[in-house]
Amino acid sequence: MIPLTFANAGEKITIKKIKGKDEVRRFLGNLGFVEGGEIIIVSDNGGNLIVNVKNTRVAISREMANKIIVE
């Protein structure tokens, strides 16, 4: 169980938990970040990530990535 920021780029990872305030979780959920879902990190720009989720690319900042706990 590690935050998404520590995961390796290019590997398929599974979301275990999403922390944070309701608003943040709701928005992440709408974009396809749900517990149990699979994601891939495409690019890492100093902790800011581009993530492939449900076949779309979503850019998230480091603060957001830290709230996503993956396996």
Partner: protein, 812 residues
């Protein structure tokens, strides 16, 4: 009967492209999420007759119906309040899973839905397969394949949509949630919604289950009922060990996963796409910023310095000047003729000797004349002679007077110069044509003055910059349409965050470099209200297209076109944003970290030429329209103000009115003291600044109508700084007012911009005066106090944001 059909879908799924294809409209399509920030309406081509209209409403892109951003609120309110006859849900076929998430919510509204799977050409090219019939059966609504870009399947779609809309059959969602959720929903429906139309109950029940504030507010429930259903929600949450909203989100995705397997087969699972490969390079942590810098330098270098300047020179000197050679035919022969004329008549040995002597005697301008003669540059020589010829004739008892040696006529002009019209294909400029026309019809002098100096001169000075803006607009449209713009926001986020703005603030600023109005409007994609307000306040600090002419004018007139003036204007704008960002963040109003950055990045694609030209035209035409209306009017006012005046106590008209006696001069004189601490307390600069509030192009217009008056370079730069940073033009102020949607905030934004501009300009002039002489102690002290205050604000620690966060939450 008129039919209303709404077009809904995820951001960047092609709604606007479809809207254009269906209505024949010309909305710009950008390749970044959130291009459409307002809903737009249009009549469908070929299906609308007088009493049988089909109206299509293009809604902003949304990910869901639980409002998180302004766009989602706009879309949701429209669907709930106006109840369109049908919804076309456009979904991106290359990205089905996430797009269907919104679909699962739209089908709950009870409004008939028809799903249009877009970008099927890309899906097929990837070798993926979609079984639309099966998907249609699973969703319980029509599903049809289209390619909005290539206009495939569009007619079929619209016919089906009209049929569905006319049938009036209510949509019934096919999916159901987990048992305990359904149980809670049934309870809610029974307790609260039983007297509502059946088709609307499901959506509202789910929203109540999610504790959606806005829906609770809408239904006007009393607290007893709320606490009653709250017990049901709590039970369900305890049972599934999650909060109600997450339960619904997960359930929706689980449902999509369950149907998608049987409808959709993907060929290259998990492989990197081209977009991913490009992103690996352009968003790389080391390469991202250098690549971005190179792109920006190319864009501004080309549009400001090379192509833009050629085009602008042609427009100013040719179209709105004497004239030009069509396609350059005859230009070189004309140039040869001029060189020959200059060689034989002007650059004579005795002229050079006289100039050398004058130069040694230190007479002003002799060096310039000499340099032009040595370079054999007749144009420069003619100009320098116009400025300094008289000086030369008077100084040292006329010892170095070159006038008798030159072919100069009584009016002080070079005579018998080659006429460009004699060579090649010569097209006379508009002012020449107009003047000839007016002379031919024996027009009255004052009317000739009004038309030539007032209207053609003023409007022409502004229109002359259109080519330059067109070049810039083409570049910006390309960046938007290919998908790079969204990456810029991502790259800049890391930097912008350091001074309290989000990377999303960068897009408004970049668009603002074209025009402030769409720039301010683009701020709508920023979810956080604080960040959005701050972006609106600072976006117009970036020099917009209309400010380019001011920069060009000052740089040419006072700095001899030195290379650093134009870039420094952009740096000044960026510095103003950074400094303002840090300072404002320290005030109570803006305290708190910017909202975390989340943004969908579209796939890269090559934009179509039509789309880019459409965007360019949309922006350029609004600029030209303003030239025809507000600028035309103010040009006439300036002209009238400068020709009517009071001479010896009598109100008179004269085409050669001294500025001091004219109405304009009297008004300017009365208020120019405001600007004297900034170094440009003269009448003309004051009038130009005031007219700049009408439209920034007017600043140049004023100097176009009234001749340029001597200013020191330092005062010129202070003038430039003030005009770049102060309140924008009326159009942009209007945009700020609309986006702030609050008179107090609008007033604050405008006041802040003006005060900040005054402070910066004051510092530039007063502190700069130490080095250029003309130091004023009081002014310097004032400037130092201002500088000290700004530095204090910059280094002061950040305020804790706890109070404000609570307040915004309560409001949301």
């Amino acid at each position: 009967m008129s039919i209303k059909i709404a077009l809904a879908g995820n951001p960047n799924s092609g709604k606007t492209t479809l809207f254009n294809a269906l209505t024949g409209s010309n909305q710009f399509v950008g390749n970044w999420p959130g291009v459409t920030v307002e809903k737009k309406e249009g009549k469908i081509k070929g299906h609308s007759s007088k009493d049988d209209e089909v109206i299509l409403v293009d809604l902003p892109g949304i990910y869901s119906l639980s409002p998180y951003t302004l766009e989602e609120v706009v879309s949701r309110n429209f669907l709930l309040d106006e109840k369109p006859n049908a919804i076309i849900n456009i979904i991106d076929g290359s990205n089905l899973e996430r797009n269907l998430y919104l679909t699962t919510q739209l089908v709950e509204l009870g409004i008939p839905v028809i799903v249009a799977v877009n970008m099927m050409d890309i899906v097929r090219k990837n070798g993926d397969k979609l079984d639309t019939q099966k998907l249609s059966k699973e969703l319980g609504c029509e599903v049809t394949e289209i390619s909005a870009l290539k206009s495939e399947g569009i007619n079929d779609l619209i016919e089906k949509a009209i049929r569905v809309a006319k049938s009036g059959k209510k949509m019934v969602a096919q999916h159901s949630f987990e048992g305990s959720v359904e149980h809670a929903l049934a309870h809610i429906e029974e307790a609260v919604l039983h007297d509502m139309p059946e088709s609307e109950q499901r959506f509202l029940a789910i929203k109540l289950f999610e504790r959606d504030d806005k829906v609770i507010e809408r239904l006007n429930l009393d607290s007893r009922i709320i606490s009653h259903i709250e017990a049901d929600i709590k039970n369900c949450e305890d049972e599934l060990d999650d909060d109600s909203e997450s339960i619904i989100t997960s359930e929706r995705y689980a449902y999509i996963a369950s149907i998608i397997g049987s409808c959709y087969t993907k060929r290259n699972k998990g492989k990197l796409t081209v977009t991913d490969k490009i992103d690996k390079v352009v968003t790389n942590r080391w390469l991202a910023l250098p690549i971005f810098a190179i792109v920006m330098i190319i864009v501004y270098y080309v549009s400001v310095s090379t192509v833009g300047t050629w085009a602008t020179d042609w427009a100013n000197d040719g179209l709105f000047g004497d004239g030009w050679h069509l396609f350059g035919i005859g230009s070189s022969q004309y140039d040869d003729a001029v060189s020959e004329y200059a060689e034989n008549e002007v650059f004579l040995p005795e002229v050079k000797t006289a100039l050398e002597g004058a130069n040694e005697a230190g007479i002003t301008g002799a060096d310039e004349l000499l340099a032009a003669a040595e370079d054999k540059d007749f144009g420069a020589f003619e100009e320098a002679y116009g400025s300094y010829g008289e000086e030369l004739a008077v100084k040292e008892n006329g010892k170095y007077d070159i006038t008798p040696m030159l072919p100069i006529d009584e009016e002080g002009e070079f005579s018998d110069t080659p006429d460009p019209a004699d060579y090649g294909v010569w097209v006379p400029g508009i002012p020449v044509l107009v003047e000839n026309g007016l002379v031919a019809v024996n027009c009255a002098d004052w009317l000739q003055g009004l038309i030539l100096d007032g209207i053609v001169g003023g409007v022409g000075a502004v229109l002359g910059f259109v080519p330059q803006m067109i070049v810039l607009f083409i570049f910006l449209a390309f960046l938007e349409a290919c998908g790079y713009m969204a990456r810029i926001a991502f790259i800049m986020d890391r930097i912008f965050r350091k001074f309290g703005l989000s990377g999303k603030s960068f897009i408004p600023m970049l668009i603002g470099s074209g025009c402030g109005v769409p720039g301010v409007m683009a701020s709508r994609t920023i979810e956080n209200e604080r960040d959005r307000r701050m972006t609106i306040m600072t976006t117009t600090f970036i020099p917009c297209g209309a400010k380019l002419p001011i920069i060009a004018l000052i740089s040419a007139a006072l700095f001899n076109g030195t290379w650093w003036v134009a870039p420094s204007a952009y740096f000044l704008g960026i510095a103003a944003i950074i400094v303002s960002g840090i300072m404002l963040k320290k005030t109570k109003m803006f305290a708190g970290d910017p909202a975390p950055f989340v943004m969908e990045l579209p796939a890269y694609h090559m934009p179509t030429v039509g789309n880019i030209l459409r965007s360019m035209w949309e922006r350029a035409s609004s600029f030209i329209k303003r030239a025809g209306t507000i600028i035309l009017l103010s040009s006439i006012i300036i002209w009238a103000g400068s020709c009517f005046g009071i001479v010896d106590g009598i109100f008179t008209f004269s085409a050669d009115m001294e500025l001091e006696d004219s109405i304009l001069g009297i008004v300017g004189n009365a208020i120019c003291w405001i600007f004297s601490p900034l170094g440009f307390g003269n009448i003309k600069a004051t009038i130009a600044t005031i007219m700049g509030l009408v439209a920034k192009e007017e600043v140049v217009g004023v100097f176009g109508v009234l001749d340029f008056e001597g200013m020191t370079s330092l005062a010129g730069y202070a003038f430039l700084a003030f005009n770049l940073l102060c309140a924008p033009c009326f159009a942009a102020i209007g945009a700020i007012r609309r986006e702030m949607n609050n008179p107090k905030w609008t007033a604050f934004a405008i006041a802040y911009q003006c005060v900040f501009a005054y402070a910066v300009s004051l510092m530039i002039y007063q502190i700069g005066s130490i080095f250029t002489g003309g130091l004023n102690i009081i002014g310097l002290i004032a400037a130092i106090i201002v500088a000290a205050f700004i530095i204090y604000m910059l280094v002061k620690p950040y305020k804790a944001a706890d109070k404000l966060t609570l307040k915004t939450k309560a409001k949301a």
